[in-house]
Point group: C2
Chain length 663, copies 2
């Protein structure tokens, strides 16, 4: 430690410290603490960027076709022919969203998540709504991706089926620990599995098409038992819209790049934009390919075996090496998708907290420079969801993607409004907003139309979602989101209120000293502990009153006698308590004093408090100070202090005899 | 309130108060508080005494025969002939116990429970063992009696069978509330149902014998489904001993009168003794009668219908009025038996606590002058037992009665030792013990033999219990009792240790004043709240140091500037925290000061603590004072005080602006 005395204000000392927190189990688990100055910042290129940000989006091909199929299966095998057309509609939507986000990436080179875009262009309520929707969806991303990942493994090893919930929870906890360690988005770790997944999926689709064209593509051999409702329904527009809604889960994660533009090498907007287009192309072609082939091989919707597994073992004619690589690559990409949510959720939570809409604690970075509280919160909620929904993707999917589409809508609407503002600027004029800088652009009308169209499309999808999946679980999200927004505003109101009341702006200062400082010491007996409390009380003020609540007259008599010897002339007030209450008469006495006190008078209650050597012994004593503090919380001008008395470890043990009033 | 200044010590003031606690839900439930001076003491005669104390003992006739039968049923219908002989052995044991307790009643006119007798004559370990065994058994009395009571009702109304656990728990809670109100042992309330039970049971037995002698006694019509093990066993001595052990549950409650002698009118020992004999006669004859008739009517052991119900509807030829009166009288006496345990358990707990073997809180009498904590504890544990054992008497009975027989044994052994001590006194010599007075008596040898024989008999039964019922659940009690005794002694050791270390005997007094009082004020920002804390700190001492842990350099810079204006010349120490820890650097600083402090120096840490208006807002702030207090618990010479700052309800709201450091 070095003391450096600041030259301007001689009364201020600053100490630097190289204090390293001691080793502990936590450090073993998540790594040694990092200094604030160690915060890394490295940038990545397009190829690695694709790997880092694509996991969330690409992994959804592992379940989107299947969940779309699951809805259509209710109308019998005939309806399965609709899987591909529905997928075409979804790819069209993907195109619209990609073009829209392409514009966002260029407009917000510092990162253009829905929360920031909505905040800067639409105001606080839409921004908080977008944030609440996204936070909800990040939780669901973890639950859905991990559940789907475990479902792939279970497809390959059916004996593990009964343990899927346990495996899913373990996987979430594993990702939590990895994130608490603070994985640098170092790409190298992510690139291999991401590209392996892309390669192996194209291999599946390619091989499938080859066999389809050569006429050797069979249907799924010994298909799993179908999970279908008992009563068949007709193919209605509602059913098709429902299948479409389930399939749009393929689009989740497309927004990831717009959040992470700063991670790219310069020119970052351009690099991020190109990466987005590549990602959408890969996503769209894989999704279409899988959907098409699923129809050809007569894939069966089943809780026991995923579509990817059925497709792969049909295309590769059995559970060989290529099949196993497909399954494991899919599982890993799904786990990586959950990992993306673990990066996004705490970052968004910290943004909200920084603006005062969530508890400040979410802005604290832990020993490894990550937002530990947010990471732990996400893991707990995701695990709860997995347990409640039994790690079933089909049961989770009705809740999923509504949040994403709500935030798409708000983000694109915000962008449209931004173009409108830009169109009304003078050429050369600049407006600085927290998230970006506005400059006039000639093409603002076209761009506004593009984002506006994107917004209308995604809004339509969100409404389709809410109606078709309402009874299956979408209502939960529709109820939860406004409740969350309400909570955000309540928190904001509280912080705002506190700040405005405690500010020193216009504050005239407090009176310098109290005119009188009264000290009250409640005692239940006279012994070394209470004498220690009295000594401390006399240190604070000359105006000390000891107070004893008398429940047992014999005990009170003994106390009177001891007081004559040990009271050192201090005042003692004995309060009779005919109803054997302890706290109430004492409180009444203190409140009587507070009611009569002068404005500049301060009252301190010094409570001698016994501190046992072992925690279980606390049950054998009373916590008077805590009780008093709680009761007097609302009174001003009174401070409750507990003066601890401990049994010295090596203290002399005198001949034992009963002593009173150790409470 | 009236102030009366005591004349001898002018510094002592005593205040009497007629303060009545305000009305609340609790008062509505359990009644208005009673003054200590209101404690009632009324005495009762033999007839009422029988009613008050007999419920526990007599009610056991409702299940003793049945549980004895339940064991024998495992050997098939042939073995049922052994029910009556086993019952004869039990009645012989009852005679021995009654004669033994008759002597205890005369020796301990102030109340001679097993705990007091063992404590005065055998020492602390046997006394605590007897106490632990009795406390365990009181809990089981509640569980068994209430379960059996509900089983009677369910026998009459089989549709209620699925709800028996819920009804049993409700019954326990009802008895708890009644006891929290503080039922005076006013007899009148108890006499009617107790005598109704006795009358109706004798009517059952009498009618049964009449029909047996006139040859019109049938077997049970449409008997319930028997609850019997699938594999039949042979009639072994072990089986007979097991049946005997289960049947001895009839003896539980016989000790009740010896605990409550003070409740009787003078000459109380004589009255109590006569009552005991009457009780044993009634108990013995009813038990024998029921056991005999059960064999004649071929009563079936069943979880669905009790033996009392089967017997009564056979004797009275159907479910008529007399049958219903029998069922309800039995249920009520069983509930009253549970009520007896609710009187005994808290009283015994308070005795233990008064001697320092259980938490002191058990000696506190609640607003209605009863030991509320003990009553609530008993209700909670009994309900837990009922839920775990599904209100099944048969599953509870293996745990039951071991405690009673262990305490019988210790109590009688204590009495035998007492006679031996009396035999060795000089005529005319008197020894005062806490529980009784010892005077020479000529007949001491005979009396010692009687109690000694009683002790040996009950000890044998306890061993029979432990072995025959070991695997079914007796092991729980055999493990639990030593654990409880261990806990009692650990508690006693703690209180003893505290008393001997804090006593003022041989204590030289504390140094009068500290030479230095340092005050440290941790602040996270400069605002009205921290200024209030600083003002209070300056009230305590002139030696005030503010400490700021710097996590964010910009925030620290703002704080420096504000300090120049508002710091009022106080020292400010800024602690750099490169690992973004808040508590650790602060603790390290405080501990550095404590390590260097002089013996007479005192350090106070004044923590400005924000108190939100609503409890949920606590989650938005940090509880620094609590954390510091916990960490510094083991350090002496340091006091942690939190100075609350609140948002004044009618405070001026100034223009809001972000302010730092409201944590």
């Amino acid at each position: 430690m070095a003391d450096t005395v600041s030259s301007k204000q001689p009364e201020i000392t600053q100490r630097t410290s190289d204090y390293l927190p001691p080793r502990s189990f936590i450090h073993w688990l998540i790594g040694r603490p990092l200094q604030t100055a160690d915060a890394p910042h490295q940038t990545i290129g397009k190829a690695v960027g694709l790997a880092v940000f694509a996991a969330d989006a690409l992994s959804s091909t592992a379940y989107a076709t299947q969940e779309s199929l699951g809805v259509l299966a209710a109308a019998g095998t005939l309806a399965l022919g609709y899987v591909f057309p529905v997928s075409l509609a979804i790819v069209a939507l993907l195109t619209v969203v990609t073009v829209s986000y392409e514009q966002t990436i260029h407009a917000y080179p510092g990162g253009g998540g829905a929360y920031i875009v909505a905040r800067d262009n639409l105001g606080e309520l839409p921004a908080q709504t977008a944030g609440a929707a996204l936070l909800t969806d990040y939780v669901l991303t973890v639950a859905v991706s991990v559940s789907s990942g475990i479902a792939q493994v279970v497809s390959a090893y059916p004996a593990l089926f009964p343990y899927r919930v346990e495996f899913a929870v373990l996987a979430v906890l594993f990702i939590m620990v990895v994130n608490l360690r603070g994985v640098k988005e170092s790409g190298s770790l992510f690139a291999f599995p991401a590209y392996l997944f892309i390669a192996v999926m194209f291999l599946n689709v390619g091989a499938g098409f080859f066999r389809y064209l050569t006429g050797t593509l069979t249907t799924v051999p010994s298909p799993p038992q179908a999970s279908v409702a008992a009563v068949l329904t007709a193919v209605t527009p509602f059913l098709l819209l429902h299948a479409f809604a389930n399939g749009t889960s393929a689009l989740t994660g497309v927004e990831a790049i717009s959040n992470g533009i700063t991670a790219f090498k310069e020119p970052r907007s351009k690099n991020a934009g190109v990466t987005l287009i590549w990602m959408s192309l890969i996503l769209g072609s894989l999704f279409l390919g899988i959907s098409f082939l699923t129809g050809r091989v007569h894939g069966v919707f089943s809780e026991q075996e995923t579509i990817i597994s059925q497709l792969s073992r049909t295309v590769f004619a059995g559970r060989g090496l290529l099949y196993l690589v497909t399954i494991w690559a899919t599982t890993i990409i799904l786990i990586m998708a959950a990992n993306t949510a673990f990066a996004d959720f705490p970052r968004l939570g910290a943004l909200h907290a920084g603006d005062g809409f969530l508890p400040r604690q979410l802005t604290f970075r832990g020993s490894r420079l990550v937002y530990s509280n947010g990471i732990i919160a996400l893991a707990i909620i995701a695990c709860a969801l997995i347990v409640v929904f039994q790690a079933s993707v089909t049961r989770l999917i009705p809740l999923y993607a509504i949040g994403v589409f709500a935030s798409f809508t708000l983000s694109q609407a915000g962008m449209a409004r931004r173009w409108w503002k830009i169109g009304h600027l003078q050429p050369g004029q600049e407006i600085k907003e927290p998230g970006s800088v506005l400059r006039y652009e000639k093409s603002w009308r076209t761009r506004m139309v593009i984002n506006g169209f994107g917004s209308v499309c995604t809004a339509t999808v969100a409404v389709v979602f809410a109606t078709t999946k309402f009874r299956e679980g979408a209502w939960i999200v529709l109820v939860l989101t406004p409740v969350l927004v309400g909570i955000f505003f309540a928190i904001h109101h509280h912080y705002h209120d506190v700040a405005s009341r405690l500010t020193l702006v216009g504050f005239g200062g407090l009176p310098d000293r109290a005119t009188r400082h009264r000290v009250i010491v409640p005692i239940s007996g006279v012994h070394q502990g209470t004498l220690e409390g009295l000594r401390y009380a006399r240190l604070l003020s000359d105006d000390v009153t000891a107070v004893h609540v008398s429940i047992d007259p014999t005990e009170t008599d003994r106390l009177r006698k001891k007081w004559a010897t040990w009271g050192a002339g201090s005042r003692l007030v004995i309060l009779d308590s005919p109803y054997r209450l302890f706290l109430e008469p004492l409180l009444r006495y203190v409140e009587g004093i507070l009611d009569r006190k002068q404005p500049n008078e301060t009252v301190t209650i010094v409570v001698p408090q016994f501190i046992p050597a072992k925690p279980w012994q606390n049950a054998l004593h009373m916590r008077t100070a805590d009780l008093l503090r709680k009761e007097l919380l609302s009174r001003s001008g009174v401070v409750v202090t507990d003066v601890p008395y401990r049994l010295a470890e090596n203290g002399k043990i005198r001949k034992a005899q009963p002593i009173d009033g150790i409470d």
